[in-house]
Symmetry: C2
């Protein structure tokens, strides 16, 4: 993907980390290698001790960046949503027609992830796998309400809000724009999970199917006006 200027950074709520991992070499290695490790052995099996071993650093050093692995997961998933949001805005900004805009937006968030060379230490393909397999665990906790208040989920919520608005622009009469927006984002992750582990529970097996499925669902549900 072509960018207008070379250095875009994804801004993460600084309550999520103790020290900004983007600010140092060690921090970047923590992010880079934690993505590889969580993708490999899963979030449950992942520990700071193992990560320290892999990056040739010490457990205690990692604790100076993140309070615990839950916060690290929040960081990674926030980064992913921020990155996706950037692509979403970039790709839809110039589209005037409301239906075309929504169509493009659905495509952006439901298509398979490809590597973005702009962020060298982050493998977006593996990260999107982590989001598919682990994102729910970041909010299905007893701490959800306090963490939500702290703003740990703002980027995700803003994404949903953007869809909400695009849906409203297509059909202002539709009664469930937020629910539909949530269904697209969360449902897309779920369809990718099903494809890999419960293939009989999905019809989205080929590249592009998930996009088609949600596009079909949304545009049958909304009453698009001419030149909305």
């Amino acid at each position: 993907m072509e960018r207008l200027f070379g250095s875009v950074t994804i801004k993460i709520n600084d309550k999520i980390f103790v020290k900004d991992p983007a600010s140092s070499d060690l921090g970047k290695r923590i992010i880079e290698q934690s993505i590889l490790m969580i993708n490999d052995i899963g979030f449950e099996g992942f520990t700071f001790k193992k990560l320290g071993l892999q990056i040739g650093s010490n457990e205690s050093s990692i604790y100076r960046y993140f309070e615990n692995k839950h916060k690290l997961l929040l960081y990674l998933t926030s980064w992913y949503w921020g990155w996706l949001e950037y692509q979403l805005v970039f790709a839809t900004n110039s589209i005037g027609d409301t239906s075309e805009k929504l169509k493009k937006a659905i495509e952006i968030v439901t298509r398979p992830t490809v590597k973005d060379s702009a962020f060298s230490h982050i493998n977006e393909v593996l990260l999107s796998n982590i989001v598919i397999n682990e994102y729910s665990k970041s909010y299905l906790t007893k701490e959800i309400d306090t963490e939500n208040k702290e703003g740990y989920f703002v980027i995700y919520k803003r994404m949903i809000e953007r869809f909400n608005e695009m849906i409203h622009a297509v059909d202002s009469e539709y009664k469930y724009p937020s629910s539909l927006a949530s269904t697209i984002l969360e449902g897309s992750l779920h369809q990718y999970f099903l494809k890999d582990h419960f293939p009989s529970l999905t019809d989205c097996h080929e590249k592009g199917d998930t996009t088609k499925y949600f596009t079909d669902l949304v545009f049958h549900t909304l009453k698009a006006k001419q030149n909305g």
Copy 2:
């Protein structure tokens, strides 16, 4: 809900437990109290030691019923889906019209749960809360593929398959019946979660809204034939 004969039991894959908890008094207390505890302190905070304390029994005794708390969660959630499946079949069995049948099915799985007096040691309302908050964790693991092969998710998969068939009966041309079925089941849990913790991400705030949202979504998407 009225039943035809007094004792219906929900059959659970016997690989999930070491000893059938339905077969003894202690087993039933394990189920009863684990529902209260998991609902209360969450699956992460829940341990067999705490449960033993609460039911006045011993940690080691609980291990004679379940290998670990993950298996106990599989048991509880399987029971829930089995219970819901029973209601689904019972309520839709006699409906001839395919659209009416699907409509009823959507209603059954998207409406709020109410207590069923037929199973005295199980609080279905709390259990449905557990399913909303913890079900994903039972399959978002590195063991998913082996556990799926062992048949730990058969009831859930059968539910989706039933929806798949009902959708097909309404519109045999529709290309994504399994995906849509998955979206209804998984999406419904998600809408209930959002209502409690991210209210701005859903429009389903009042009783009946989730049912209306999914009914609207499904019947706009499918082309129902007259007397299908």
